[in-house]
Symmetry: C2
Subunit: 384 residues, 2 copies
């Protein structure tokens, strides 16, 4: 096991009655800046429930943060926040809204430079505004971690930052609000969570049997409950398990002591940056070709994954590893998610542009840093 | 799944180099009150390593906190702490030392009544002193939770309290310090962690497939690595897995959304209160008879436990449940832990005294509150 540090101070309030606790989770004396997305939270009544739960807290609203949240839009909210007395940021939405709110929290007090530096050059975050989250889409785990992914439309960049000061103070999680999620968003969220787990699990072995089993626990549960929520969107217990599994997939428990490999996400982010394709779909397309490219080094873990999660019983380890990859893609297909970029996109210029970007940034990927831009070109071609 | 809240702000620093981080984890300006047990940390050199890691922090020492930590002894430390400027409490030891330190942290500022009220009448803890932990015995999980169990010798009581203000600020966990643990302490710790998991898992089903698998993950890992550390005490990776598994067993992740049943611990505490028998051994004796008494209501979960953890394949659920209980006791035996009270004790008066205590306190136990004092008498007789 590798040495590690773990810290996660997010208070989770989970269940049918979680909204009732919301008002008490925000200290008095703040103005709540209620931050949300494209308006579905208004249509579904979630925003009304939130406002009702906030009671006497003064509230200002900022909507319109769309998937792959845009720096340009977020900076509009930064301007609002800077003119708001004692703001407390409340993200109501999925990962894009929560990630965007984390950026706003760090950007509002940032200076003297441009807050984009937080992403572009790891500009130091000396302080951040307090924030909380009300989760509506189980997927990214952002409600219970300190990371965010932000897109800059102007330069078509999608970059990550992490900082302990942007942990949400709380995550309010009511599975009933996911009853009305469109099937594609439900499925994309399951794919996202699944890939998060694999990126902390399918790496070279450093003797972490507990963490491996904790990873399998999340995967087996998503395999069991994912199809159930698509078949019966109002199955409370299945929705609750999907929701808590997606949080468990990226609250960093699974990262403790293991080797991680975020290559699927890093390639996926480039696809979204260039095309705005939904995050979960980019991952679904990249994962299989990437794992097949890495099958020699990941063979043992892949075989164990196939046995533990899919119940495979192959004797030959290479055959077992390849079957596990196939079963993963078959599971995504069963959720209605295609694993071919060509099914979503028509312009193939990204097949050249993404490797060029990695070359320009001198980026190598993979748990051993041995996935070159040329390898990425091959992976993307296989994913088309 | 039941509604739940989860909050755990303990920073874990885990691994071979974790001691090096210790000095930086304690804010400057404090006097470190270094609290430890019977002196093994001095013999093994742990205390020297801690003092060296503390660098320039001023330090006062308080040793002598023995297993089943005694209120009377802890109050001596409270007196010391009250006369120390800006104290930061640092527990160096196992669960008894950490539990004792939590009590000291809450008791020092407590008033105007006697701090025993914290345990006897849930006296309100308005504030607590800051504390941190350096773990030397994987067992109780106290390093990463907000609970403590304290014994009063005078009245032979052993009682529990929980409060968010006594979360350790950090848990420093170096598996190498467990290389020199006596085999019986290693084994008792594994039994304690095992029973913690079962108390959050073997209850009536509320559709929590993720939590059930997370529980199985800890158990399967202890089953695999427990015998390894007894056979090869300096096997780093096995020691690391046992250590992290014991933390995972009671950092409350497994409690999320499930029904819990702490009856084994509550009966075990009474045995320790009356006899000072080691905590893990009391649990080993009580668990089997208690589960056999409850086999009708826990049958499904017990059968699933046997299949998942021990690989059983029984068709009849009652047979499967009973086999799972037998396998649990066989595992404890394989660690060198007897499951008969008569192997540890000679005076049988506790067989009457414990049920009388529960009757006097009007205590009923079990996830449905249906284990009566008479049932406890039968369970204890079976455990003798």
């Amino acid at each position: 096991m590798k040495d590690f540090q773990f810290y996660n101070p997010v208070k989770v309030v989970f269940g049918r009655k979680s909204f009732e606790k919301l008002g008490g989770l925000i200290p008095t004396g703040h103005t709540v800046v209620l931050i949300y997305g494209g308006g579905s939270v208004r249509r579904t009544g979630v925003l009304d429930r939130v406002q009702s739960a906030l009671g006497d807290h003064p509230v200002v609203e900022f909507g319109g943060i769309l998937p792959n949240p845009a720096y340009e839009k977020l900076m509009e909210c930064v301007a609002l926040v800077r003119s708001t007395p004692s703001p407390f940021l409340l993200a109501v939405g999925g990962g894009s809204v929560i990630d965007g709110t984390k950026f706003i929290a760090a950007a509002a007090p940032y200076g003297p430079g441009d807050p984009w530096e937080i992403l572009s050059v790891r500009g130091k975050i000396r302080e951040a505004l307090p924030l909380g989250s009300v989760l509506t889409i189980p997927a990214t785990g952002s409600e219970m971690n300190n990371g965010a992914v932000i897109t800059r439309r102007q330069t078509r960049e999608k970059l990550v930052f992490q900082n302990d000061q942007v942990f949400p103070r709380f995550a309010v999680m009511d599975p009933t609000v996911t009853f009305t999620l469109p099937a594609d968003q439900t499925a994309n969220g399951i794919v996202d969570a699944w890939v998060h787990v694999l990126e902390q699990y399918l790496t070279y072995d450093v003797e972490t049997p507990l963490q491996d089993r904790q990873a399998q626990a999340v995967l087996s549960t998503l395999l069991e409950t994912g199809p159930r929520v698509l078949a019966a969107p109002e199955d409370y217990d299945a929705r609750a398990s999907v929701m808590w599994s997606a949080t468990a997939a990226l609250n960093r428990v699974l990262s403790c002591g293991v080797v991680t490999d975020w290559a699927t996400h890093l390639i996926g982010h480039e696809i979204s940056a260039l095309t705005d394709l939904a995050h979960g779909r980019t991952l679904a397309c990249v994962l299989g070709p990437l794992l097949r490219h890495q099958v020699a080094s990941k063979e043992g873990k892949l075989a164990g994954y196939g046995a533990a999660v899919f119940g495979h019983g192959f004797e030959d380890p290479r055959e077992a590893a390849l079957a596990a990859i196939d079963a993963t893609e078959a599971f995504f297909h069963s959720l209605g998610v295609s694993t071919r970029l060509g099914d979503y996109l028509s312009d193939q210029t990204l097949l050249d542009e993404i490797p060029q970007r990695f070359t320009a940034r001198r980026t190598t990927l993979g748990e051993r840093g041995d996935i070159t831009p040329d390898d990425v070109a091959g992976i993307l071609a296989d994913a088309w």
